[in-house]
């Protein structure tokens, strides 16, 4: 373990109870998913499938202007339309409902319906509640809004000098700069001074977004009799921070019950649908009817609070002439859009793995967060780390080029070695364990690099341009809570929470069947399946004897939910903890039944038996039956209470506080997965068209619970990375109008655009800190695909001498870049 960066950082001891094993019954199996039958037969219950009696429907009036004062709103004509129940302006809404939730500090105030001012095209200006969505939309057209247009700044490099009427939130100050701070981790100046070469590039990551096939929505019912809101929503984090919506609604948290529904994909966009919940609940209260609000696709593209990172980097690497990277220094401007719901979380996140898999000694980051007249950023698969992966890998390639080194070679020279873990990085986070060389070697072998290099040179003779990319990246997993606030100014840090647990409720019924309740939703990750596998493993039950369900916030416990690739690890921790309690109780009953000590017992294939005595055993079902119904058969002591149920809360396995001076951020994201991606592409320089010929992805996600579902995430994440790299952009024009606001203009890849076979490989370095050594792996595909594709394109077009330091690389953009150099 290296101590050289932060000598005073002690890594707490591992709380792991279940180590990795040689022989699992269920963990590691590519078991068919428990969730699938109902989804396949059209019986899944998504938010738009929810109907409650007397339900009305809402639609929102979207602002056509990017920046304007709301001078007046005339709703009288809209109210007259038959079938209209209520028409609500932002001012009206704000009488009962406060601003929606934000993690920014100082707060960037957002209302569910804009009050006084609109700040981006698509922002809600008014809402209609009507008998059906069709009528609601008719009524929107009858609302007359008088706007006074304000100027908008669209050049990312000019946003921090915006002033006067260009300022979006004048109450925060005469600036659109939300934050401007420098973080220095380690001896940056000295490292730059001793470098042989400084490599410098400007790199642009344009915004794309998750765009799941299902939009966000809610069904809210305000019970006037009890003053309680019941809200169905396809959100996550409802048991973690959902109560903050109650605060917005001006009621006690017990007066808001959030019921999760299946989500048709999220990729971060449904991490916390505070605005949707607050909006729909508030409307239901005003309208006096239950209200359903489902974003249509226009709402979702313009107004979803779910755009990805939008960054311009000026980046320097300090290197020695043998390719050793000493230090990195960057300035980044991040255009967050009109609000700042997650504070600087996407940069905090990036700090968890900012040096990548390399032994880089120091880091300096100058982060300028600016606000602009665009939909705000949310969480998108990678949450900002996919961008630093991209930038760092592009810098490694630029460095290799300047030094005349092979891209594989320069990575090998810098990779952290297996014996160096746990590895403390300059920003304070820890990489728990890994073997980056093994991942790289396996990927190279699967890809057959030398064969592709031959094909490349053969193709060039025929006037065709094939290129190869190779990247080596981190995929951190299991975020911790300090990330939400550790980048805020230490004098105004906001709410410095340090809990981000996961919980389950577990019971075994009288027939010996296990019933698990989750406090987190289904997103397309496979919570029911992985929980079934882990419970089956821990209790030696058959998966068919396990049922998994979801609880609402009334009955639920603190569960942070999926996101940051954390769910499988965290729920495994909760299950292990819960099973431990249940097992102890089972053994207590069984020991009495079999007249032995609890220490003599073991679980084996659904039986509780005496170790070493094969015929002295009872089934879990028999013991369960006795425990539920036959209290008098057991001693009159504690521990024999009827029944078998428990709840278990599992806290983040490894978090430490950042020091006040923030010269590091503590440990906050230590379960460190890793991947190597390789790609071969063919580029047509005359049209800019890119075809992906081959693709290999090797991931280390520690102990795998279900290799099949993990590979699904790797491929799906890679597909989204392909989208961000080559096809997708939320493009705003010079009036901050969104030009790509529908699926015809925003190009999500289809089956045609994918490589025929994304070959997935696995390496397992079990984490010392998590149950069974599991690491998260949901995001990694998207966190490596962009840099590998851009590198491959650059490699293909090497004869033209151009560099590519941006995404997306659409055919048009590739042609523009080639034309600049006379091609």
């Amino acid at each position: 373990m290296n101590k050289r960066y932060i000598p005073d950082l002690d890594i707490p001891a591992s709380r792991r109870r279940e180590g990795p094993r040689e022989n699992y019954s269920w963990i590691g199996k590519s078991m068919k998913r428990v969730e699938d039958p109902r989804l396949l037969t059209g019986k899944g219950k998504y938010i738009d499938d929810i109907e409650v009696p007397n339900m009305a429907h809402a639609a929102i009036l979207r602002s056509p202007y990017a920046h304007a004062l709301i001078k007046s709103i005339n709703i009288s004509e809209a109210l007259k339309l038959p079938g209209v129940i209520s028409v609500i302006t932002g001012a009206e809404f704000a009488k009962l409902t406060g601003p929606t939730v934000t993690f920014s500090s100082p707060a960037v105030v957002q209302h569910a319906i804009a009050k006084d001012r609109v700040r981006y095209v698509g922002e809600a200006v008014a809402a209609v509640v009507a008998e059906d969505r069709y009528i609601a939309e008719d009524a929107l057209e009858l609302i007359e809004v008088v706007y006074e247009e304000l100027p908008t700044v669209t050049d990312i490099h000019k946003m921090s000098s915006a002033s006067g009427a260009e300022v979006l939130h004048p109450e925060r100050g005469e600036t659109n700069t939300a934050s401007d701070s420098v973080f220095t981790f380690g001896p940056v100046d000295e490292d730059f001074a001793r470098a042989d070469l400084i490599v410098r590039r400007k790199i642009r990551w344009n915004r794309s977004g998750p765009q799941p096939m299902e939009t966000a929505g809610a069904v809210a019912d305000y019970d006037e009799g009890t003053g309680k809101f019941t809200v169905y929503c396809n959100t996550s984090m409802y048991t973690y921070v959902g109560w903050l919506c109650a605060v917005s609604l001006g009621v006690s948290p017990t007066q808001l019950n959030i019921i999760p529904t299946l989500a048709g994909g999220s990729f971060g966009s449904k991490l916390f649908l505070h605005r949707i919940i607050v909006l729909t609940a508030g409307l239901s209260r005003i309208a006096g009817r239950p209200v359903k609000y489902i974003e249509d696709r226009l709402d979702n593209m313009l107004n979803a609070d779910a755009h990805g990172s939008d960054r311009a980097y000026d980046f320097e690497l300090a290197v020695k002439k043998d390719g050793t990277v000493l230090s990195m220094r960057y300035e980044v401007i991040d255009d967050y859009g009109a609000y700042l719901q997650y504070g600087l979380g996407t940069h905090g996140n990036a700090f968890s793995q900012v040096i990548g898999p390399y032994r880089i000694n120091s880091v300096q980051a100058h982060i300028i967060a600016v606000l602009s007249n665009k939909c705000q950023q949310g969480a998108y698969r990678g949450f900002g780390s996919e961008v630093t992966n991209f930038v760092l890998e592009r810098m490694m390639d630029a460095t290799a080029k300047e030094l005349g080194m092979d891209p594989v070679e320069i990575r090998r020279r810098n990779l952290i070695r297996p014996e160096e873990f746990p590895y403390i990085i300059p920003s304070g986070n820890v990489y728990d364990i890994g073997n980056y060389q093994e991942v790289l070697n396996k990927a190279l072998e699967m890809f057959d690099m030398s064969s592709w290099r031959s094909k490349q040179s053969e193709a060039l003779k025929e006037g065709r341009y094939i290129g190869i990319g190779i990247v080596s990246c981190q995929e951190r997993s299991v975020f911790s809570s300090t990330e939400f606030w550790s980048l805020n100014s230490p004098d105004q840090p906001g709410f410095q929470l340090t809990s981000s647990p996961e919980s389950v409720s577990l019971k075994i019924d009288a027939a010996g069947k296990a019933f698990v309740k989750l406090n987190a939703p289904f997103w397309g990750n496979s919570p029911e399946t992985v929980v079934t596998q882990i419970v089956a493993e821990a209790l030696t039950l058959d998966p068919s004897d396990i049922t998994v369900g979801y609880v609402d916030t009334d009955s639920g416990f603190n569960g942070t939910g999926p996101g940051g690739s954390r769910y499988t690890v965290m729920v495994a921790g909760a299950v292990v903890s819960g099973v431990k309690t249940l097992r102890e109780k089972l053994f207590k009953f069984a020991a009495h039944m079999m007249e032995c000590g609890t220490g003599d017992l073991e679980l084996r294939a659904g039986m509780i038996g005496i170790k070493g005595v094969p015929d002295k055993e009872k089934s879990i079902a028999d013991v369960a039956m006795m425990s539920h119904y036959f209290r008098l058969s057991f001693p009159d002591e504690d521990g024999f209470e009827s029944g078998l149920e428990t709840t278990a809360v599992y806290d983040h396995p490894l978090t430490t506080m950042p020091p006040d001076d923030r010269n590091h951020l503590g440990i906050f994201y230590p379960i460190m997965g890793h991947m190597a991606h390789l790609a071969a592409v063919e580029v047509d320089p005359k049209t800019g068209h890119v075809k992906i010929l081959d693709y290999v992805a090797v991931h280390d996600c520690g102990t795998m619970v279900n290799p099949m579902t993990l590979a699904g995430h790797v491929r799906g994440g890679t597909a989204q990375g392909i989208g961000s790299a080559l096809f997708e952009q939320f493009k705003y024009d010079d009036q901050s109008q969104l030009l790509t606001a529908n699926f015809t203009d925003y190009h999500i890849p289809t089956a045609h655009e994918m490589p025929i076979n994304i070959r997935v490989g696995h390496v397992e370095t079990p984490s010392p800190y998590t149950e069974f050594g599991i690491k998260g792996g949901g995001e990694g595909g998207r966190m490596a695909a962009p840099p590998v594709l851009v590198q491959a394109i650059e490699d293909a077009l090497k004869p033209f001498g151009v560099e590519f330091m941006e995404i997306p690389l659409t055919p048009q953009r590739i042609r523009e870049i080639l034309r600049e150099v006379g091609h």
Binding site: R33, K45, D48
Partner: protein, 165 residues
């Protein structure tokens, strides 16, 4: 403003349906909210994503681009007609085997497109499967396991000589 209500008679998943509908009621809304067949999903309402694909008189069609009034006299099949939890269609079985879904939202539309393909072409190549599902957007899987599932179902169906309707 239209006050028309038009009676439509059609067959949906083998059952006769008679309803009065307003002309502008989209077929997908009719299926989901009037008939409570919520297996068909709404993803975009402008005919690009394919989550709303249904079978109209034997061919797939975007139900977000049809009005209920237009399908008077038609025979419609939705995902609910393919199979049930206890008796799944080979395509559903294959999707399950091959992990051809994650969130499940695009899945009904995918199944309808795949079903049409296999009816017309029981022995498709990989490229033909890709072409058949190329207008069904999936954000979760990257499509590869979906293609695997369709090819696997084709094999299964040839073995069993199942007649798909």
């Amino acid at each position: 403003m239209s006050n028309q209500f038009i009676e439509i008679n059609l067959i949906v998943n083998g059952k006769s349906v008679q309803k009065n509908v307003s002309p502008r009621l989209l077929l997908v809304d009719f299926l989901r909210h009037d008939l409570h067949l919520t297996g068909t999903h709404v993803g975009c309402e402008h005919g690009v994503c394919g989550a709303c694909n249904i079978d109209l008189d034997g061919k797939t069609a975007r139900s977000c681009l049809l009005f209920a009034v237009q399908v008077d006299g038609a025979v419609i099949n939705t995902v609910e007609s393919l199979g049930t939890m206890s008796h799944m269609h080979p395509l559903q079985e294959s999707f399950w085997e091959k992990h051809g879904l994650q969130c499940g939202f695009c899945t009904p539309g995918m199944l309808m497109s795949a079903n049409e393909l296999l009816k017309n072409n029981p022995n498709p190549t990989r490229d033909e499967v890709i072409e058949a599902i190329s207008s069904n957007l999936c954000r979760c899987t990257g499509y590869q396991t979906i293609v695997d599932a369709v090819l696997s179902a084709a094999q299964e169906m040839k073995k069993n000589e199942v007649i798909t309707s």
